[in-house]
């Protein structure tokens, strides 16, 4: 297998979650189709609830493999990527904000973020402090995440997802509990960080979408 030094593209080839195998899925531009997401592009995957968008995210992140068809990073079929290599990709090439946030409720906001940031090497304390301030949760930095509102937790998770090197960032319903103001701030932050790294953004939404500029939309 070729070592992946940079994910230039994520390609879906006739993919379908196994649970949909015997169902017809009309109007889907993703399932049973060929789709290519390229580095530097911004995508919104629009879906109805139950359409399999979280499944798609998990497939792209290697957490699940219960699909038909093929998924490629560059020319590499991801089903052949060994566990240790996945861990390296997760540290350096693909960032992910799961819908359920996956924060540790017993840790503070700052600890949750540092847990991720320390993996990339040096913790960029000033940048993290800047992001916390930008999203208006700097006063909550030392609160246990479990005692925060969902909206605040979402903001912590957004910061955590961008404090690593990445070629693609996958954001699953990142702003479902954010007001428009915070949505815009978060979108700006993600775009700024993705542009800085030359990365692609893939975000999903069932309604309240991340307000990114020049967004390509695809229906699930």
């Amino acid at each position: 297998m070729n070592r992946i030094d940079r994910i230039e593209s994520i390609r879906l080839e006739g993919m379908l979650p196994k649970v949909f195998e015997n169902e017809s899925i009309p109007n889907s531009e993703v399932w049973r189709s060929d789709v290519v997401f390229r580095r530097g592009e911004r995508w919104l995957v629009e879906a109805a609830s139950g359409g399999g968008k979280s499944s798609l995210c998990a497939y792209m992140f290697g957490s699940r493999t219960d699909y038909l068809g093929r998924l490629y990073f560059n020319d590499v079929d991801v089903s052949g990527i060994p566990v240790a290599e996945w861990q390296r990709l997760r540290r350096c090439h693909i960032a992910y904000l799961p819908q359920e946030l996956a924060l540790f409720p017993e840790l503070t906001a700052l600890e949750n973020i540092r847990l991720k940031a320390s993996l990339a090497g040096d913790v960029q304390e000033e940048r993290i402090a800047g992001w916390l301030k930008e999203l208006g949760i700097d006063s909550r930095a030392d609160y246990p995440v479990g005692r925060m509102s969902i909206g605040q937790q979402q903001r912590v998770a957004i910061i955590r997802s961008i404090c690593q090197p990445f070629d693609f960032i996958v954001l699953d319903e990142p702003v479902s509990h954010l007001d428009e103001e915070n949505n815009r701030i978060a979108a700006r932050m993600v775009m700024r960080e993705a542009d800085r790294q030359g990365a692609g953004i893939i975000t999903t939404s069932v309604g309240n979408r991340l307000l990114l500029d020049s967004l390509k939309t695809i229906k699930l």
């Binding site: 992140f61 957490s63 699940r64 493999t65 566990v83 240790a84 861990q87 390296r88 997760r90 540290r91 350096c92 992910y96 799961p98 996956a102 540790f104 017993e106 840790l107 600890e111 540092r114 847990l115 991720k116 993996l119 690593q164």
Partner: protein, 396 residues
């Protein structure tokens, strides 16, 4: 470290303590049992100071045919060379016996006692007596003697008590000079010697004199007829070898030895075996306690493990706190067991040294404990690795 704090959550100190305690008990029994065995073994294996335990005294079984035909059950030259060819034989020595008459007399408490006797000898290299005490200079009037302990027992508890004679202690016998009258068959040549008992042997059923004396006296008083050796002393490479037993059986031979000591050492082996089995069973159970504790702990923390892996933490790093837990608790149980065994050994060592033991190998038992600990650490660490990997894909 935040990650360690996260992963140790839900850890039950009681469960870990339960493991450490049971592992400690198991290991302590195994190590103590082995160490005690090592220390006691020397009492039985070094039962005779005069010949090493690797030496077997072998003779042919005496059958009715020997009695009827008047032919001694002796070894022929071919039989000896066949024995020498066996892979477990280092060297073979022949017993030589006297070719003349010997009368021994002793004065005890004013009463004299006299008896016909015989001597035998084996090559000096088979005998472990301090050099100055053993040996004979031709012409000297003093002869060192090693007597079978059985003879003294026979005299003290059989003959002396029924005949109203005083009992003799080993040290007394060592101090009393034995007057030996040696005469040729025809009675023409004779001489007197003073015999000095240098020791009593458990394993030599004979009266032993130095080979030099045997050669010198046979030449002077013997009839110079050559006799086949009726007994052999064999230096074997490993006394426990089954090949020895079957060879002895096949050729109708007998091995002389202290039966009591071999029974005691057999019992010692059996008891040690039982104790070790109990210790190993407890250790194995403790292994499962640790395995189950880790399973429960990691199952409770599965969500956290999954999330950490999702953040990109290497599998090794996520398993590390659990491996550290295994290593520390096992090391603790092992060191505790060693300390207790050390104390236990101190408590029995004094008495054991009085019995001639206590000089066992000091490394074998701790090494065995370490080996068991290593097995527990390695198997559980591997299980941790597998469980981390299983948490990799799906959070539930």
């Amino acid at each position: 470290m935040i990650i360690n704090r996260l992963l140790r959550k839900n850890m039950s100190p009681a469960r870990i303590a339960g493991f450490v305690l049971s592992n400690f008990i198991g290991l302590a029994i195994v190590v103590a049992g082995l160490q005690f065995f090592q220390d006691v073994k020397s009492i039985y294996s070094d039962d005779d100071g005069f010949i090493k335990k690797d030496y077997l005294v072998v003779n042919k079984k005496v059958t009715s045919a020997n009695t009827v035909e008047g032919k001694a059950a002796a070894f022929s030259a071919e039989e000896i060379s066949d024995l020498e060819r066996q892979p477990w034989v280092r060297k073979v020595g022949r017993f030589s016996s006297v070719d003349y008459r010997v009368t021994a007399s002793v004065q005890t408490g004013g009463r004299g006692m006299s008896t016909y006797m015989f001597f035998e000898s084996i090559p000096s290299e088979f005998i472990d007596v301090a050099g100055s005490q053993w040996g004979y200079r031709p012409g000297s009037g003093e002869v060192p003697i090693i007597i079978s302990k059985d003879y003294l027992t026979l005299y003290n508890f059989g003959f002396a008590s029924s005949a109203g004679l005083p009992q003799l202690s080993e040290s007394f016998m060592g101090g009393v000079p034995l007057r030996l009258h040696v005469a040729s068959e025809d009675g023409i040549r004779s001489a007197d010697f003073s015999g000095r008992v240098v020791g009593f042997s458990n394993r030599l059923n004979t009266i032993l004199v130095p080979q030099e004396f045997m050669e010198w006296s046979n030449e002077r008083f013997g009839s110079s007829s050559v006799k086949d050796a009726s007994r052999l002393i064999v230096d074997v490479s490993s006394p426990g070898d089954v090949a020895i037993g079957s060879y002895i059986e096949e050729h109708g031979l007998e091995v002389a030895g202290d039966k009591r000591s071999s029974q005691a050492s057999f019992l010692l082996n059996v008891i040690t075996g039982i104790i070790l089995a109990v210790g190993v069973v407890i250790t194995v159970l403790s292994f499962f306690i640790l395995m189950l504790s880790l399973t429960v702990l990691m199952e409770k923390n599965r969500e956290k493990i999954h999330t950490l892996l999702q953040l990109g933490y290497p599998l090794r790093r996520v398993g590390a706190p659990y491996r550290a837990l295994i290593a520390w608790s096992c090391a603790g149980a092992y060191l505790l067991a060693l300390a207790v065994v050390y104390g236990f050994r101190l408590s029995y060592l004094h008495q054991l040294e009085g019995l001639g033991g206590g000089h066992g190998n000091l490394w074998l038992a701790p090494a065995a404990g370490l080996g068991l600990t290593a097995v527990i650490v390695v198997l559980n660490s591997l299980a941790v690795g597998r469980r981390v990997e299983r948490a990799w894909r799906i959070s539930r």
